[in-house]
Amino acid sequence: MPGDSRRIRGPEESRCPLLYALPESPQAPEQARTEPRPLYARAGLLSQAKGSAYIETGGGGGGTKVLSGASGPREAERRDGPGLRGARLVCEFRWAPFARLGPRCGVGTALERELSLALQESLEPAVRLERYPRAQIHVWVLVLEDRGSAFASALSAASLALADAGIEMYDVVVGCALSRGPGGCLLLDPSDRDEGRPKSGGCLTLALMPALNQVCGLLCNGEWTEESLSQAVRLCMEGCHRLYPVLQQCLVRATKRKISVPQSGPA
């Protein structure tokens, strides 16, 4: 019965105006796409976090904007459990309340919790946790605007933030998403419109360590045949490989900025 006094509360119930919107003109037919949308990445922009990264993807009328921060290693809060031999990686993934079209998202939804866990399990293989016994490393990801493939960008952003924080890693984790339209065509790096299409055949998000060619995260729903799924996994891996150099460059640049060497290229 007692309500939440820690937030300023609005009315008990509110509805999204989009539900009452007049029907719009039909959307443009989808096309198969095997190239990821352009991506902008920047590491080391937050002043307070030890490591941070910002990724923006997509074009025209807004893109997916993801901000990530990492801190640690610091002393572990929980001393029990299996975390003694290596560090505990704690991940938090969430959407800003206004990040998506449609109704305002609440805090701590089931999906956020699931993706936080998936983020953690996808980053764990890449981080050399055994180097930091009895420690914990925090990674936060905040989606400022979701125009599709937010979780894939979150994966990349989080691993950039970890690298920027100087945490030892085997490789940078690159995330890439794919959706399958009802017609069966595969769309790499879908926009929110593609993802939200009714009867879309399914979505797949894959996390890859490109240098080691190891898949460290895989999350998929929808209906697939074995062949289409294998095809989708392959496409996603290709997508990851294409994004990899951008992330590398971004890290190199961030490092340079940090050591504040005047801009003299390694060449």
Partner: protein, 276 residues
Amino acid sequence: MAAGFKTVEPLEYYRRFLKENCRPDGRELGEFRPTTVNIGSITTADGSSLVKLGSTTVLCGIKAEFSAPPTDAPNKGYIVPNVDLPSLCSSRFRPGPPGEEAQVASQFIADVIENSQIVLKEDLCIANGKLAWVLYCDIICLDYDGNILDACTCALLGALKNVRLPSVKINEETGLAEVCMKEKSPLKIRKNPVATSFAIFDDTLSLVDPTAEEETLATGTITIVMDEDDRLCVLRKPGGSAISAEKLQTCISRAITRHKEVRKLLDEVIESIQPK
């Protein structure tokens, strides 16, 4: 050497600077950090703005939804401001429900809205007693380097100026709302409150726009919110060292100047994104 001195005796370190009438980051006592405003970048929100004060970065996004008006005021809508200080922005904040500082900031913003009448709640009513807009103003701090109250107020104002609400008609037959997303109109902004914060050092010196470090070392803070008619909307002085009336008056004068600056800044930005 200087770094070591700073770690061991942070207060003394600051005092040496202040004696020379400047601050470690090179500013004068009455100087703001560079303020950058970016409006309308979050397309999923109905209105948004990003404000940077030096490193401090605050993002405000506004979502408008429908609800029945409150029973005790059938001709009003709702404005629901919440300030979120995630652990992303500073290691001092724990994850989980809003902590003390976030609650205080949320309440402060709510007070600013209430006192300044920035937007009249009556303007948000669509159909008396039936339907009204709820403006969820979510302010998220992305980087915490002091003086978030100023940044939050500015971000809120910027975002409110950016809000475009779709036109709504009530269908006579079904009694349901019909929304036309194509026809959008801006909100009527009645007042432009701008906040100016000061940190009080050693009971006498007042520094404008304190960084996080300065805030922790200061003996008190004071925040003044002015509107364009040079009226005080909120004056917040949560304890700390006392301040003389003369000093307060100087602060208010500075706040008036600041208001003009920020007003101009916001106008310019809004102008630049106006569809031509």
